[in-house]
Every structure is written in structure tokens, then in C-alpha cells.
């Protein structure tokens, strides 16, 4: 009898335990809880940044300038700037009312200290054109470039991976290597400051009450509207979507495309979709004899059905690519124009080209030429890429080409493609402008130019984009390069992925940015 009573008592207690929390499943009114599938590991801007780091840095730091969602550059910490006639000297005039989270005033020395440090880091390729930085006085910074270029202004905008965010130089000096790693070391000028950081679990931020130097394209330049922000790491997709549905998180900025359709129809939630600045592609290894024949490359391009990939791999949450760059990237060719040049889905044409090139269908459907089968390896480094390559594998099979998929983890992939093992490889590319093209100049072989393609025309176009001071000429050169790529099948563009963000209806005035997702959160607020 007693044992049974005790058992029932335990059962009752357990039930009570579970119920006690069941009612409270909403986030606090003053806190915006954001869920993401990866964790930040270092919050010093300038350190090799992954997306979680960048997002946190957007909230913690500011830069001299910043892009808006349309791609226009705006003043941020700098009120205005001048360029010398020869384009070599850029002078920035800072605001004089900016303070760090530590209370210290921002001076030009902080800017100089950061740029000097940045130049020593591997990420300094962004400011490769920079010769030296000087603090003329407390509110004036002067940059001297090695060569004139329009790129410099873009590269030091905060939207460029937030590398240019200015940290408190005293804190950086004090903590040295530990800056950005120890939560107490972090001090920036941004709308939020770090109050806690549980590694691999969450970053806790609180509003900076003194903040009033927000970019003008926000409705609110002053202190942020939410008091606290928590960025939570939830790696498992299903758990993250469940957390959003339950109200444990207010936003999911890596929303699973599998759940997006259902969650979009769920009461109390909305799904926001924003184009991403991508240049995803499948790149040919131009060293391999098989791909020396342009007809083979073109044929493989014609065989691709982008719509099927969008459906199967991204559940509809992607845009078919016409050229290499997505339409939100500065320097892209207008789709209407590109559609006339770039090969699009046409398996009949693909087969025709392969026939012309001497590849005859074999007994099992795979084409053969001189005893060699049309068979090659395709490399990728994530499960989603492997899935994409599986869809493409079927499409190539239709025209008689056989691809073998090799999925490696990122580090092993990097090694393999640097060595040129692959025949083709999928590559992700996200960038604000087409300056990402530095990936394909001769100097970048073997890495990041894993196409192993050294082409005079490409180098010439790139040179123009980097040195001309005429914005129109720059865009023209990018477009010429892109058209050339498509015409000569240098690589096969892949669908542009999108920002898919799930947000509770309690989050209002949320704006997304084409590269970094949610940006500075100055307008966002929580309603009851």
C-alpha cells in the first residue's frame, strides 16, 4: 500500500513540475530572443568572422560608414568625408559625441589603432589598398592608399562583415589576445553592449542608453527600442522551429525552409524573405582535360534545371539564377540582358553540343569518347550541397554525363580543392558587391581560385573595377566580366539563396538587410 501511495505521490509531483512551466512559455517583454543555428566564437571585429560573430558585432560596434539596404553608403561614426583629387587620400571627420560602452570618448586614435591592427590580420585583404592611417586630430582620420580605387569606401563599411567596427583601443590594448574572447573585455560604440556570454549557448546584450548616433536610414537614431537582446544557439532545426512556435524565441534567423511554409501560416508568426547577395556556383576545374572543351562546359550548363533545384533542395526558398550575381549585388548584369547570353535549361541543346564534341551515348546511357566515359567527380562540403549535387547528378545523367558526389567536411574540402583534386565543385559565395571577383583572377590560383582559371580578359576587367574612379565604368567592367563568364561557361551559376527569417508577431518594425540579416535593430521593438 505504502509503495503504491509513494508512487502516486511521485507521479503527482512530476506532473506539477511539468505544468508549472507549461504556462510560462513566452519570452520576457523587454527582451528580444533570437535563435540561430551556430554560435559566435570571437567578438573582436577583424578576426576571421563567421556569421554569428558578424551579427553580434553589428550590435556591439559601429564603423565610419555603413550601407543601407539599397546599397548606398551613409555616414555612421564619420559625419562626412573627402577624397583628394588623385584618389589617394581619404579624410574622414568623426562625430565628437560618441562614447564607448566603457564610458571613454571615441577619438581618431581608436580608429587608427584598429586599422593598424586590422592590417596585420589575415582579413586585411579587404583593405589591401590601404597604405597608412593617421590621426590628424581627435576627430579627423586620414587614410592614404597605395592606388586610387572606389572599393575602399565599400570595404570599410560595417556591412563588409563588420571587420571595420571600431573597438575601444584601451580595452584592446589591455586584454591583448583575450579581447573579444572574454566577455568583460568587449567594448564598442554600438546600440547594445555585452552583459553575458555563455559559450556555444547564448550571447546576452543590453541596450546602450547613451546611444544616439544611429545611421539616418533608421527611423530611430537614439537608444534602441528593446532593452535586451539574447542570441541563442540552437543547432537542431526541429528544436529551433519548435522553440519559435512555442514562443521560447522571438526570431529564428536561420529558419528551416522545411518549416517555413507551415510557420508562415501559423497564427502569431510571420516569415520574412529577403534576397541575399549571393554568387553560388558549380565551378569547373579548368586544369582537367575534360573541361578544356568549351562545348562540354556549355552542355553541362544547358542541362541544369534551376527550378527543380529550387523546389527540391530549398523547398521553394531560393531564386533561380540567370547570371552569376543576384540582382541585389552592385555590378550585376540586368537579368533581361543576361537571359539572352547565358545558357538556360535546354537538355536538347546540351545533347547536341555533346554530340558535336564527339561524345556518343554508351550502352548504359553515359557518353563515351575515345574509350573514355563522360564521368567526373563533384565536390561539396555540406549536406545541403550534397543534396543539391544529387539533383544536378540526375539532371546530368539525362544528357549522358555521370557525376560522382564527394562530400567532405569543410577543412578537408578546402585542402582538396586547393590541390585541384576535384573535377567540379560547388562553392558558396556571398558578398555585397561583385568585388568577390578577386576569387577568379590569375593571382588567386590555387586558392581561392579553385577554378584554376587564369584568363587575360578576366584580369583586365577586374583591374578596371579596382582602379577606376568612375562608378559607371566599374559597373560596366563587372558586367562585362560576368557576361564573359556565362558566354564561355567558366562556371555554372546556382540558385540564389534567400534570407528566411521567422518572427513572432510580437516583434514589430523589423527590417532585414540583404547580406547580414537583421542589422542594427534600432527600430525593432516588442509589443505585448
Amino acid at each position: 500500500m505504502r509503495a503504491r501511495m509513494r508512487f502516486l505521490l511521485c507521479l503527482g509531483l512530476t506532473a506539477m513540475l511539468m505544468w508549472s512551466g507549461a504556462v510560462v512559455a513566452a519570452t520576457p517583454d523587454d527582451t528580444l530572443v533570437i535563435g540561430y543555428n551556430r554560435a559566435a566564437n570571437n567578438l573582436h571585429p577583424g578576426v576571421n568572422a563567421s556569421l554569428p560573430n558578424i551579427w553580434a558585432n553589428m550590435l556591439i560596434y559601429d564603423s565610419l560608414v555603413i550601407h543601407d539596404a539599397q546599397g548606398k553608403v551613409h555616414p555612421a561614426l564619420a559625419k562626412r568625408w573627402e577624397v583628394s583629387k588623385d584618389g589617394l587620400v581619404w579624410t574622414f571627420y568623426l562625430r565628437d559625441d560618441v562614447k564607448f560602452h566603457s564610458g571613454r570618448k571615441l577619438t581618431a586614435n581608436d580608429v587608427k589603432a584598429h586599422f593598424d591592427l586590422w592590417k596585420t590580420m589575415p582579413t586585411a585583404t579587404k583593405i589591401a589598398a590601404l597604405e597608412k592611417t593617421e590621426a590628424v586630430n581627435d576627430i579627423t582620420v586620414r587614410f592614404t592608399l597605395k592606388n586610387p580605387t572606389l572599393v575602399f569606401l565599400s570595404m570599410i563599411s560595417q556591412t563588409e562583415w563588420s571587420y571595420s567596427g571600431i573597438p575601444d583601443s584601451e580595452a584592446v590594448k589591455k586584454y591583448g589576445q583575450d579581447y573579444g574572447v572574454l566577455p568583460e573585455s568587449i567594448s564598442g560604440t554600438g546600440p547594445f553592449k555585452v552583459t553575458g556570454w555563455v559559450r556555444n549557448d547564448r550571447v546576452e546584450l543590453a541596450r546602450n542608453p547613451d546611444y544616439k548616433w544611429g545611421p539616418s536610414f533608421y527611423k530611430n537614431q537614439g537608444p534602441a527600442r528593446v532593452e535586451k537582446v539574447v542570441i541563442k544557439t540552437i543547432t537542431e532545426e526541429a528544436a529551433r522551429s519548435a522553440a519559435l512556435e512555442r514562443g521560447e524565441i522571438d526570431m529564428d534567423i536561420s529558419l528551416s525552409e522545411k518549416d517555413a511554409p507551415r510557420l508562415g501560416k501559423t497564427k502569431g508568426l510571420r516569415v520574412m524573405v529577403q534576397p541575399k547577395n549571393t554568387a553560388h556556383h558549380i565551378g569547373f576545374n579548368h586544369d582537367k582535360p575534360l573541361f578544356k572543351d568549351q562545348r562540354v562546359r556549355l552542355a553541362l550548363m544547358y542541362a541544369i534545371d534551376q527550378k527543380a533545384i529550387v523546389e527540391a533542395v530549398y523547398n521553394g526558398y531560393a531564386k533561380p539564377a540567370v547570371g552569376l550575381w543576384s540582382t541585389s549585388v552592385e555590378g550585376h548584369t540586368p537579368p533581361a540582358e543576361m537571359a539572352k547570353i547565358a545558357p538556360s535549361y535546354n537538355p536538347a541543346r546540351a545533347k547536341q553540343l555533346l554530340d558535336e564534341a564527339g561524345w556518343k551515348p554508351g550502352s548504359d546511357g553515359i557518353r563515351v569518347k575515345d574509350g573514355q566515359r563522360l564521368s567526373f567527380t563533384s565536390y561539396g562540403y555540406s549536406e545541403q550541397q550534397a543534396n543539391l549535387l544529387a539533383v544536378v547528378q540526375q539532371q546530368w545523367r539525362e544528357v549522358g554525363a555521370e557525376s560522382q558526389i564527394r562530400q567532405l567536411e569543410y577543412a578537408a574540402w578546402q585542402k582538396a580543392v586547393t590541390a585541384g583534386e576535384q573535377d567540379v565543385s560547388y562553392t558558396d559565395g556571398t558578398h555585397s558587391t561583385a568585388d568577390l571577383s578577386y576569387w577568379w583572377v590569375c593571382k588567386s590560383v590555387p586558392y581561392p581560385n579553385i577554378l584554376k582559371r587564369c584568363d587575360e580578359a578576366t584580369d583586365k576587367y577586374f583591374e578596371i573595377t579596382q582602379t577606376t574612379l568612375d562608378p559607371k565604368k566599374r559597373v560596366q567592367a563587372f558586367q562585362d566580366m560576368e557576361k564573359d563568364f556565362m558566354r564561355r561557361a567558366a562556371m555554372i551559376p546556382m540558385p540564389h539563396t534567400l534570407w528566411v527569417v521567422g518572427a513572432s508577431d510580437r516583434v514589430a518594425d523589423l527590417e532585414l538587410h540583404p547580406i547580414h540579416g537583421y542589422f542594427k535593430l534600432l527600430d525593432a521593438r516588442k509589443t505585448k
Binding site: 512559455a25 566564437n41 589575415p122 574572447v181 528544436a239 522553440a243
Partner: protein
């Protein structure tokens, strides 16, 4: 007995050395270059070489090993390549969570398993026995990640009773328990079946033994006979098994931590392997193996103490 303890300790030291060498070599065999990863996509070859030199990766392998062991004995397991924090600090931050999860799961598996096993043994041959045995087999027969996701689906979404995952905000509070429930049930599922079956079968054996019949002859109530005598003796192999299960659960924690975003060492290790963070990989595996070896040693000693009839080679 003392000789036995000494022998076990000596063997343990040898094993630890062997583990450290094996880990070191294996980590070095992993393809991919941590210097390149750390330097990033944009780095030039010179910059990557510079990074490599800074990490000490350009030295011959035995020098790297000697340095590593020397420092490890002083408590310095190196610094994480990516977070630049001392490895021991990373471990110290995350191991308690894994330990908590593993221990609670083990305890859960033990308690539930023993209860089910006893009930089955007592009601041998009945429908309850069959159901219990099949049920315990079922827990072991599902991939752990499927079980985890199904539990989230059922208890978090449909019933809305428990959180979907994440770490608890406080140490000694109800929220803590609530966050622990689903991950520990998932992880316990791995062992609970075997514990139940082991309990059942050893109890059935022991019930036939001499000294129990003697107790019965004394006229004690049957229930006391079962609970006290049979159970106590059946516990020896069960405890041994559970000690061994610790290692299995430690491994299973890797998946459970991923699914429930439990901030433990399992996740840390998987991420370290992906990013080729050598010091973290080495330190974490060495640490976990050492803990496992230590627990094995304890179990061995406990076994030797509990049952002096056992002789060792």
C-alpha cells in the same frame, strides 16, 4: 588486495599514456590545415605559414608530442586555436554540463531499469513481463536522434509541457529540472533496456541459489526475501554494467547535446573536429578518456571489494 590495487593503478597509467599517444597521432592524421582555416579564405600563403609557425605546427611530430605532454602534466593543455582560450578552461566550462547529463541519464536508466527488471522477475511469465521486456528492447532499437526529435515533438509542441532544449538559466531551480528532463530521458533510453534485462535475469538466477532457500526456510515473508537478498546480489553485475555504460553514454551525449542544444563537451568536440582545433580535440578526448579510465578503475576496485571470490590473472 593491496597488490591488486597497485597492479590496477600501474595498468591505468600505462593506458593513459597509450591514450595520449593515440589521440595525438590520430589528431595529426586528420586531413586539413588548422592554420589555413584560422587564417581564413582571404589569407595568402605567407600569412597561413605565419599562423602555422605561431601554432608550433611546423615542428617535427615527436617534439610537438613531448612539448604537449610536458605542458599537460603541468595542467596546461594548450589554447584553443579559434577562441584563444586555454583548453582546460573550455573543458571546465563545459564538462559539468555533460557530466550532469550523463549522470542523471545513468541514474534514470538505473532506477527505471531496476524497477522494471524487478517487476518482470517477480511477475515472471506474465503479460507484464513480456511487455516490459519488449518495451526495454524497443528503447534500445531506435536511433537516438529520432527518439530525441520525437520527444521534442510530443512533449514540447503537442503537449506543451517541456522546453525544446537549451541550457537552464539557473542552477538550483525548477527550470533546471525541466530543461534536463527530455535530454536525459533520450540518453537514458540507450541503457535502460539492458539494465532491465540484466536485473531480471540475474535476479532469476539468484532466486535459485542456496542461501535464498535458506532464508526462505527461516520463514521470512517472500517479499523481503526477494527484495533484500536477491536484489542485493543481483546488483553486482548491474553496477558493473552501468559503470561500463558510462562510456557509451558519454558518446551518446554527443548526439543528445546537438539535438537539445545542451552546452556540454560533446558539441564542443564535434565543432572542434570540424574546425580542426587540434588543442581542443586532443584535450577534450584525453580528458574524457581519462575520466572513463578513472571510472573503470573505480568500478574494478569496487568489484574486487564487493566480491572477494573473484580472482584475477
Amino acid at each position: 588486495m593491496l597488490g591488486y590495487v597497485a597492479r590496477r593503478l600501474r595498468a591505468t597509467v600505462f593506458v593513459l599514456v597509450g591514450v595520449s599517444v593515440l589521440v595525438f597521432v590520430m589528431v595529426r592524421l586528420i586531413p586539413g590545415d588548422p592554420a589555413l582555416i584560422l587564417a581564413g579564405v582571404d589569407a595568402s600563403r605567407e600569412q597561413a605559414a605565419e599562423v602555422r609557425r605561431g601554432l608550433g605546427l611546423d615542428q617535427p611530430i615527436w617534439i610537438q608530442y613531448a612539448r604537449y605532454v610536458g605542458r599537460a602534466l603541468e595542467g596546461d593543455l594548450g589554447k584553443s586555436i579559434h577562441s584563444r582560450r586555454p583548453v582546460w578552461r573550455e573543458i571546465r566550462d563545459r564538462f559539468p554540463a555533460t557530466l550532469e547529463l550523463t549522470m542523471v541519464s545513468l541514474a534514470l536508466a538505473g532506477v527505471i531499469g531496476v524497477v522494471v527488471g524487478v517487476v518482470s522477475a517477480v511477475r515472471r511469465g506474465s503479460a507484464i513481463d513480456s511487455i516490459a521486456m519488449i518495451g526495454s528492447l524497443a528503447g534500445v532499437s531506435m536511433p537516438i536522434f529520432l527518439l530525441g526529435v520525437l520527444l521534442i515533438w510530443l512533449f514540447s509542441l503537442y503537449l506543451g509541457l517541456l522546453p525544446t532544449g537549451g541550457s537552464p538559466p539557473c542552477l538550483f531551480c525548477v527550470e533546471h529540472v525541466r530543461h534536463l528532463v527530455l535530454p536525459s530521458i533520450t540518453l537514458a533510453g540507450v541503457s535502460v533496456g539492458m539494465v532491465a534485462r540484466l536485473t531480471r535475469s540475474t535476479m532469476l538466477e539468484v532466486v535459485h541459489e542456496e542461501f535464498v532457500r535458506t532464508a526462505r526456510a527461516k520463514g521470512l515473508a517472500e517479499r523481503i526475501v526477494i527484495y533484500k537478498h536477491a536484489l542485493r546480489n543481483a546488483m553486482i553485475p548491474v553496477v558493473t554494467y552501468m559503470g561500463l555504460q558510462f562510456g557509451v553514454l558519454l558518446g551518446g551525449a554527443v548526439v543528445t547535446e546537438q539535438i537539445f542544444s545542451w552546452p556540454g563537451m560533446g558539441r564542443m568536440l564535434v565543432e572542434a573536429i570540424e574546425s580542426r582545433d587540434y588543442p581542443v580535440i586532443q584535450g577534450a578526448i584525453l580528458f574524457m578518456a581519462s575520466v572513463f579510465v578513472a571510472i573503470n578503475l573505480l568500478v574494478d576496485l569496487l568489484y574486487g571489494w564487493l566480491d572477494p571470490r573473484i580472482s584475477y590473472e
